[in-house]
C-alpha cells in the first residue's frame, strides 16, 4: 500500500485526484481514472520516472454497464519492480486519447483493442484492424459477438504502409520498388507478412502485417472452463508450450489465492527451463538457417528431440504437453526421470558449446550480424521489449530475478546482458541463457522436494483416478467439479512470468463463474515485432531477414 500512497501524493500535485480511485486487490495496485485524464496520467507517470514500461494495453467489455468498455493499461517499473494497473471506462462509440506519445509501444496494443472491441483511440495514426482480416465486420471480443460467427475473406490487402506525417500509408512512391514478402515465404516462418519499398537493396519504408494465425485464443478462453483453457495456452508459443501452461496456471492460482506445493514448483521450474532451452534451439537454429547455415538447424533439432523424449516420458506428449493443472501438476514424474534430466543436461551443455562455436564464433555469421540493426536500450524500453531482446540491448531485467517466483531467488544463476543491442548480441544472450538454464535444472534436479505434486483442495483439483473409480467420495468429487467447475472469486489479476521470449503476462478477470470472464495474454513478441518497420528502416534487405529471425517471432503468441 505504501507505493500506492506515494503515487497518490505524486499524482495529486498535477491532477484532481478526487475523481481517481486507488485500490489494492489480489496483490495488484489499481488506479481507476476518468478517460479524459488517462493519457496525461500515463505521460506524467512516465515523465516523473515512476513507470518506464508499458507492458500491455487491452480492452474489456461489460455490456450491462453504462460505459461498457474498460481500457486497461499495465505499467511496470524496472526501478523497484512494481506494477500498476490503470483502468478507464469508455462508452460505446466514445474515444479515448492514445498513449503513443507517452509510450511508443502502445501502438499495436491499441490497434488490437480497436479491432477486438471497437474502442477508438484518438490521435492514433494507424487505427486499423490488426488481427482480423480487413473484410471483417464487427468486433469479435464484444460479449454480444458469437464466438462461432465466421466471416469469409476473399482477398489479401494490397501493399500498404503506416501513415506518417507527410506520407500517407496507402500511397506508394513511384521512385521505389514495392516488395511483398510473405506470408508464404521461407524467411517469414509461415505467417508473417512484410511489405517494403526498396531503393535498390535498401529498405526505404517498411510495414508488417500480422493476424494470419489469429486463432481467437481469448474468445476461446471466455467460452471454456478454467482447466480446459490449458490446452489452448499450449498453442500460444508452441516452441515452449509448458511455459504458457505455467504462466496461465500461475495467474489462476493467484486469483484463487492458493500456493502450490514445493514439488510442483520444482517440476514447473524444470519444465520451464527445459522449454527455454528448446525454444532457443529453434530460435538459433532457424535464425542461422535464414542466414544460410543449414547444419545448425539439424544439429539443434537433435538436441530438441532429446528433450521431447523427456517430455514424452513425463506425460505422453512431445510438443504440447498440457502438464500443469490449476493447483499443481497433472501427475508425478516417473521413477528415474530426474536422473535422466540430469544426464541430458550434460548433453545439452556439450551441444550448446559445440553449437556456439559453430554459430557465434563463425566469421560469416559475425559479419552478417554484428552491428546490424541495433536497438538502443531507451528505444527497447519505449517499445516494450522484454526477454532476450531487451537483455541484448543491455538492460538487465529478468522477472526470475526481479520478481522471483517458484524459488528462483534461491537458485544460483546469472542473467546474461548484451552491450550493443545488435543481432549478434541477441544470439549471444540466447546461448548464454541456455547454459544458465542448464545450471538451474541441475540445481533443482539434485534437490527435488518430497511431498505431493498438487494441492488437494476438492473445489479446485480433480481427485486421482483410483479414487474416482474406487470410492463414492472420489466419484462424487469428480462429478461435482466437472459439472460445477472450478470457480475463482470475482476479481482480476495480472500475472507475469519470464517466458523464453520475454514477459508473458496473463490479465485474468473472473466474475465468479466457471469460465474466465476475460483473459488477455500479453505476448512478448507482439511488443517486439511492432518496432520492426522502424528497426529495419534504411537497412539492407538481407539484414531485415536476419532481424526478423533474431526477434524469434512465434505466430501462435503473436496473433493468438
Amino acid at each position: 500500500m505504501n507505493k500506492l500512497e506515494n503515487l497518490k501524493h505524486k499524482l495529486s500535485e498535477k491532477f484532481k485526484i478526487q475523481n481517481f480511485k486507488f485500490s489494492h486487490a489480489f496483490g495488484d495496485d489499481v488506479l481507476e481514472v476518468p478517460k479524459e485524464d488517462a493519457p496525461q496520467v500515463l505521460m506524467h507517470l512516465k515523465n516523473i520516472g515512476e513507470f518506464d514500461f508499458l507492458m500491455d494495453v487491452c480492452g474489456a467489455d461489460y455490456p450491462t454497464r453504462e460505459k461498457r468498455f474498460d481500457v486497461v493499461y499495465h505499467l511496470f517499473s524496472s526501478k523497484d519492480n512494481t506494477r500498476l494497473r490503470i483502468k478507464a471506462q469508455v462508452g460505446d462509440g466514445e474515444s479515448i486519447g492514445t498513449a503513443i506519445p507517452a509510450y511508443r509501444g502502445a501502438d499495436w496494443f491499441e490497434r488490437e483493442a480497436y479491432d477486438m472491441y471497437g474502442i477508438i483511440f484518438e490521435g492514433h495514426p494507424n487505427l486499423r484492424r490488426i488481427l482480423t482480416h480487413h473484410q471483417f465486420v464487427g468486433h469479435p471480443l464484444r460479449k454480444d459477438y458469437d464466438s462461432d460467427h465466421r466471416q469469409a475473406c476473399t482477398a489479401s490487402l494490397p501493399i500498404h504502409f503506416n501513415n506518417e506525417p507527410g506520407s500517407p500509408g496507402d500511397v506508394l512512391n513511384d521512385n521505389y520498388i514495392p516488395l511483398n514478402i510473405g506470408p508464404a515465404h521461407t524467411a517469414m516462418h509461415g505467417t508473417l507478412r512484410v511489405m517494403a519499398e526498396m531503393d535498390g537493396e535498401t529498405i526505404v519504408r517498411c510495414n508488417n502485417e500480422i493476424g494470419y494465425l489469429h486463432r481467437c485464443f481469448e474468445k476461446m478462453a471466455e467460452t471454456h472452463p478454467y482447466n480446459q483453457v490449458i490446452p489452448y495456452t499450449d498453442r500460444l508459443n508452441y516452441c515452449s508450450a509448458p511455459m504458457n501452461n505455467i504462466g496461465y496456471c500461475k495467474a489462476v492460482e493467484r486469483l484463487l489465492g492458493v500456493e502450490i506445493p514445493a514439488k510442483a514448483q520444482a517440476m514447473r521450474v524444470i519444465l520451464a527451463e527445459l522449454s527455454r532451452i528448446i525454444d532457443h534451439t529453434i530460435s538459433i537454429g532457424t535464425g542461422a538457417m535464414d542466414l544460410g547455415a543449414l547444419t545448425s538447424f539439424f544439429f539443434m533439432f537433435g538436441l530438441r528431440e532429446q528433450v521431447y523424449g523427456l517430455f514424452e516420458k513425463l506425460c505422453g506428449a512431445r510438443l504440447t504437453v498440457s502438464m500443469t493443472r490449476v493447483g499443481g501438476m497433472a501427475q508425478d514424474a516417473p521413477d528415474g526421470w530426474y536422473d535422466e534430466v540430469l544426464a541430458l543436461c550434460k548433453e545439452i551443455r556439450r551441444g550448446t558449446d559445440e553449437m556456439a562455436s559453430m554459430v557465434v564464433d563463425n566469421k560469416i555469421f559475425i559479419q552478417r550480424t554484428r552491428g546490424v540493426c541495433p536497438v538502443s536500450a531507451q528505444d527497447a524500453i519505449q517499445w516494450g521489449y522484454t526477454g532476450p531482446m531487451l537483455r541484448g540491448c543491455g538492460v538487465n531485467l529478468d522477472l526470475r530475478k526481479s520478481n522471483p517466483y517458484y524459488g528462483y531467488d534461491s537458485l544460483d544463476f546469472d542473467v546474461p546482458v548484451g552491450t550493443s543491442g545488435d543481432i549478434y548480441d541477441r544470439y549471444l544472450v540466447r546461448f548464454e541463457e541456455m547454459r544458465q538454464s542448464v545450471r538451474i535444472i541441475e540445481q533443482v534436479c539434485k534437490n527435488v522436494p518430497g511431498g505431493d505434486y498438487t494441492i488437494r483442495d476438492k473445489g479446485i483439483v480433480l481427485p486421482e483416478k483410483k479414487d474416482v473409480y474406487g470410492n463414492i467420495e472420489g466419484l462424487m468429487n469428480h462429478f461435482m467439479l466437472i459439472i460445477k467447475g472450478l470457480r475463482p472469486p470475482a476479481g482480476e489479476v495480472y500475472d507475469a512470468t519470464e517466458a523464453a521470449n520475454g514477459e508473458l503476462g496473463f490479465y485474468l478477470v473472473s466474475d465468479g463463474s466457471a469460465n474466465p470472464y476475460r483473459l488477455k495474454v500479453r505476448p512478448p513478441c507482439f511488443a517486439i515485432y511492432q518496432s520492426y518497420p522502424t528497426v529495419v528502416k534504411g537497412a539492407m534487405l538481407a539484414d531485415a531477414i536476419a532481424t526478423i529471425a533474431s526477434m524469434n517471432l512465434i505466430a501462435g503468441e503473436l496473433d493468438r
Binding site: 465466421r150 516462418h189 509461415g190 494470419y212 533439432f301 537433435g302 512431445r318 501462435g556
Partner: protein, 192 residues
C-alpha cells in the same frame, strides 16, 4: 518395416531368367537388361518416391513437421527430403497448422501456383477440420478451399503419424487412385 505396403503392383517387375540356359539368353539378350511395365506404373513409381514437399507450416504442426524433416525421423528415407518453399517447385503441399480466414485466399493461390501433378496433405486437427478452434476467425478445415488427399489426425500428429500419412499418399499415387475431390475442384474465389 512396411514391406507389404511398399511391395505393390506399381513396382516394376523384372522379368527374371534365373533358370534360363545360356543360349536362350543369348538369343534374347535384350530381356536380361530390361523389364516390362506399364508406362503409368513406372511414372507413378518415380513420383511416389520423389515427392517434393512444400511445408506450409503456420503453427504448432509446423514445428512437428520440422521434426519429421529433422535428424531423428528423417523424411529423406521416403525420398521426400527436398523441401521447397516455392510452390512452383513442389508437388506435395503439406498444410501443417491452422488456416485462418485471413490465410485462406493465400493458401488457395499457393495451391493454384503448384504444377501438376500435385497432392495435398492436411496435417493435424486444425488443417483437417479447424480442430478445437471452433472460432470466428478459423477456417474449419483447409478442404473448405483446396482439395485434400490425406488427412493426418493429431494435435499435433506425431512424426510417425505424418510418415504414415506420406505412405498412404504414396500408395494412392502408386495405384493411380481416382481423386474426384481434386478433379471436381474449383477455386472458391473465382466467379463462375
Amino acid at each position: 518395416m512396411h514391406n507389404n505396403e511398399v511391395r505393390d503392383s506399381s513396382v516394376p517387375t523384372q522379368s527374371s531368367h534365373a533358370g534360363a540356359t545360356g543360349t536362350q539368353a543369348a538369343n534374347d539378350l535384350s530381356r536380361d537388361f530390361a523389364f516390362t511395365s506399364k508406362l503409368d506404373h513406372i511414372v507413378a513409381w518415380g513420383r511416389k518416391n520423389s515427392l517434393w514437399p512444400m511445408p506450409y507450416g503456420t503453427a504448432c504442426c509446423g514445428i512437428e513437421f520440422m521434426s519429421v524433416m529433422g535428424p531423428k525421423y528423417d523424411l529423406a528415407r521416403f525420398g521426400a527430403e527436398v523441401a521447397r518453399f516455392s510452390p512452383r517447385q513442389a508437388d506435395l503441399l503439406v498444410v501443417a497448422g491452422t488456416i485462418t480466414e485471413k490465410m485462406a485466399p493465400v493458401i488457395t493461390r499457393i495451391y493454384q501456383q503448384m504444377l501438376e501433378p500435385k497432392y495435398v496433405i492436411a496435417m493435424g486437427a486444425c488443417a483437417s477440420s479447424g480442430g478445437f478452434y471452433r472460432a470466428y476467425h478459423v477456417l474449419q478445415g483447409v478442404d473448405k478451399v483446396i482439395p485434400v488427399d490425406v488427412y493426418i489426425p493429431g494435435c499435433p500428429p506425431t512424426p510417425e503419424a505424418v510418415m504414415d500419412g506420406i505412405m498412404v499418399l504414396q500408395r494412392m499415387i502408386a495405384t493411380n487412385q481416382p481423386r474426384p475431390w481434386k478433379t471436381n475442384w474449383k477455386s472458391p474465389y473465382e466467379q463462375a
